[in-house]
Symmetry: C2
Subunit: 349 residues, 2 copies
């Protein structure tokens, strides 16, 4: 009954009655203590006495109070939240990345906040917003202009994942070497000579690297690309589209796809168009998602530790010091879509 009816300049009707959540002040009043005491109780501060503590606890339970994380954030200058910026949420790749980050976030008690830019032009604004609401930021390569990354990195903790940056530590894989190794397999083991790349390098650093690796291998073997890359998106549907294009022009010996989903699209569509895989054309993927193993023929691809990428990045974004460039190992996974014989152990019949 200290501060009561005498309406204050901007008397906010709310102190009593609204269905709004109770504040620390409501609890203090109900328990007959000061807000400081309530705050202490919510923090298990040992300095608050048994009887008082019980009274406060009771009031908290009765009114259903939970401290506002907004208020806390403002006071702490820390939000206990990790932000992740991705091009989109579709597909298993990003899901895995998020899960990796989540695993470390959970054990540190921080919430996660994902933003899909979808190549929207106003994405930068959203990213800035996100940056403010988080203690750290994971940014997927290609989603945010370099200048903006520099700006964000200057203001807070940011780490780039699956990409490079001069301004922030990056965690990535060596997609270029991996793609080269994969392509070499196609050339050296299977003797393919006419190879095409499927994927759109522009805008995706990952795809660019893979395309470069592909070309590295061709160059080593003194081979020419069988035409321009087939510029398609990274999803299954695009793969199906690519299949039609391939079908309508000359079929190369092998198609090196920018990721598994694209490869699956080809894999599923080409047979219906009369082309056998791998006899008529070999196909490879990249990432080693679960689809790769399910497909038939099973997909030869490159395994990437995607969840691990996410986890490392999260740790970094949350304060662990990171090398400017952490590169995680990939592994070539040979299955049958390249023309290799089925691993006898795979036929578990």
């Amino acid at each position: 009954m200290t501060t009561h009816d005498a309406q204050t300049p901007r008397s906010r009707t709310r102190s009593h009655g609204g269905s709004s959540r109770p504040t620390i002040r409501d609890i203090a009043r109900a328990a007959g203590v000061s807000v400081a005491t309530v705050s202490r109780v919510t923090h298990d501060d040992p300095r608050v006495a048994g009887e008082t503590k019980d009274r406060v606890r009771e009031a908290i339970d009765r009114l259903g109070y939970t401290p506002s994380s907004l208020g806390r954030a403002l006071s702490y200058q820390r939000t206990n939240t990790l932000g992740i910026v991705l091009p989109g949420l579709g597909g298993p790749y990003f899901a895995a990345l998020i899960e990796g980050a989540e695993s470390v976030a959970v054990e540190r008690g921080v919430a996660i906040n994902v933003l899909g830019t979808h190549l929207r032009p106003d994405a930068v604004a959203s990213v800035r917003q996100l940056a403010e609401r988080t203690d750290g930021l994971i940014i997927a390569g290609g989603t945010v202009p370099d200048a903006e990354i520099a700006r964000l990195a200057a203001a807070g903790r940011v780490v780039v994942v699956a990409g490079e940056s001069d301004d922030a530590p990056a965690v990535l894989t060596d997609g270029r070497s991996a793609a080269a190794e994969l392509t070499r397999h196609l050339i050296e083991v299977h003797g393919h000579r006419r190879l095409s790349f499927v994927g759109e390098p522009a805008g995706s650093p990952d795809t660019t690297l893979r395309y470069e690796g592909f070309r590295d291998a061709l160059r080593e073997a003194r081979l020419d690309e069988a035409g321009e890359p087939l510029r398609y998106g990274l999803d299954v549907r695009s793969g199906a589209l690519a299949a039609r294009q391939v079908h309508e022009s000359a079929l190369p010996d092998a198609l090196v796809c920018a990721n598994d989903e694209l490869a699956i699209g080809l894999l599923a569509t080409l047979p219906g168009l009369g082309h056998r895989i791998p006899q008529d054309v070999a196909i490879t993927g990249f990432d080693d998602q679960s689809l790769a193993e399910i497909a038939s023929p099973r997909l030869t691809t490159v395994h990437q530790p995607v969840a691990e990428l996410g986890a490392r990045a999260a740790a970094g974004a949350l304060g662990e010091t990171l090398d400017p460039r952490t590169v995680l190992p990939t592994r070539l996974v040979i299955r049958e879509s390249c023309g290799c014989a089925a691993d006898p152990e795979a036929i578990t019949d």
Copy 2:
């Protein structure tokens, strides 16, 4: 120069020097105006004069100031953020749901905040946290206990998507009828008698409904289920597992799968085990993701307006009034995995 050096009780070293972001006060000082004026400028308040405005603008640009959304949120009592609670982020279904919600969020200028509960036991705490940081909440059916939904709904705007609730408006499809219709097709058109359901009803309201619809149709036709449901998860990999189980026991006439991914897993694995689809066994999916059309044979399934579900839910969570129960229409999509002949128009050769 009003409030100056006289160190305040708790002189926070920061006002000058830290690499921290500038605050509204820094701008005010730099431009020689009051914070109110700065605030007005950031709001394009017409009341601020040309010359002053320019000075403030200049300071803002020079120091790289952006208003803290945390501070704003606290003052506005509104965060301009929409929360979405899902079981997980994997799979095209949730990606589509999010995109639907995103589309309406974007046009209203609100940020989106996704939380994957992953069936974690402490998920409730995360959800509460999220609730505080958002103006509205979209909750996927089965992710949060009913009691908690009631609690959240009492405190703020929440809408349940792909599920039901007594305490919050729901937007959903009639999965039960759709599943029944699909199953009837299998029975009446193809004459199948021994049908099994693939999916785990427990924990997923969606799956439960589909299973019930499946049984409704069997009952109408006076048929018995060909054994218990095959309890598997909703992803492709689980489908592959289910395929082995089916293979090792007796093959039914048809397998009605809880979603497309599961069906694709079966579809891709069964042929390798020596079973032709649809000759030896018919398979159907649910959702009509892009994979359904790519698969071979193409998947007979039920189309759901997933993005639309997300969009409606978002509108509701953002303040639009919603019926207690909005049910969106589904559509049976007949392709070849059920045994129907290929639509001639599909062979675009």
